[in-house]
């Protein structure tokens, strides 16, 4: 069940497999026959995650916690912000594209950052040029989009172990 990509410590694979099995138990339940299928499913999921996850993409637990603690309030702000603009008598909008720089190289990390950024207030990354220019659609161009993007990126990079991705 060990994937062929890169040497991976058995303990981390095992931990991942146990995680998938717990998810299965939460979703399906603990009847023995279901548990048997769950074991097979967890093994398959571990194998697939080995293929999909980038070879040296470690996540720092503390960094992840910090990121989540920043992300949740921000995503509430994002929803309330959209609601406020939608309920206003005249929608308070000045939509447009803003170009920002990103230091993350092309790859899973950058795509993950763009996806997470699209849940943050007022911003929606739409495209990345080969030279690392992010095109971000924002609801209000008067807001300091570049500063917010830099802060988002710093928070995201704090989650990556050994600062992976800086290039």
């Amino acid at each position: 069940m060990t994937p062929a990509i890169g040497p991976r410590p058995l303990s981390s694979l095992l931990a991942r497999g146990v995680g998938f099995l717990i998810l299965w138990v939460v979703l399906i339940g603990t009847t023995p026959i279901n548990l048997l299928i769950g074991l097979a499913a967890a093994a398959a999921a571990t194998w697939a995650s080995g293929l999909l996850w980038p070879a040296h993409g470690g996540i720092d637990a503390l960094g992840l916690l910090r990121f989540v603690l920043r992300f949740l309030p921000q995503s509430i702000v994002a929803g309330v912000d959209v609601a406020r603009r939608a309920f206003a008598p005249h929608p308070m909008l000045q939509p447009g594209l803003v170009a920002c720089r990103t230091s993350l190289p092309a790859g899973t990390a950058r795509r993950a950052m763009c996806a997470l950024m699209s849940l943050q207030p007022g911003k929606l990354p739409v495209a990345v040029d080969p030279d690392g220019t992010l095109h971000i659609h924002c609801l209000d161009q008067r807001e300091p989009i570049k500063e917010q993007t830099a802060a988002d990126e710093a928070a995201f990079c704090g989650m990556l172990r050994d600062g992976a991705g800086h290039g």
């Binding site: 979703l27 999909l52 092309a106 899973t108 795509r111 993950a112 996806a115 997470l116 990345v128 040029d129 080969p130």
Partner: protein
Amino acid sequence: MADILTGAALFILAVTALGLFRVLRAEFAVERMMAVQLLGTGGAAALLLLGAASGTGAMTDVALLLMLFAAFSCAAFALGQASPSVEGAERREDGA
């Protein structure tokens, strides 16, 4: 309590239907694709509320599947739209 939850579910269904009506009348295929996402989120919320109102735990499973289908059909749509020259078009699906 059950009545209130059912009422909330119906309200969300109505609001989602209104949004669907708007999105499906759009002229671009891209915009119509937003309907899938809208139906996924709104439908999941309504199902969860109905499940809590009637005490059927299985409703949660249906909501889970609905969300899953929404995600996959969006990915399939984007794969069909993607032009091979654009960066990042070859590997669309990655976990956030």
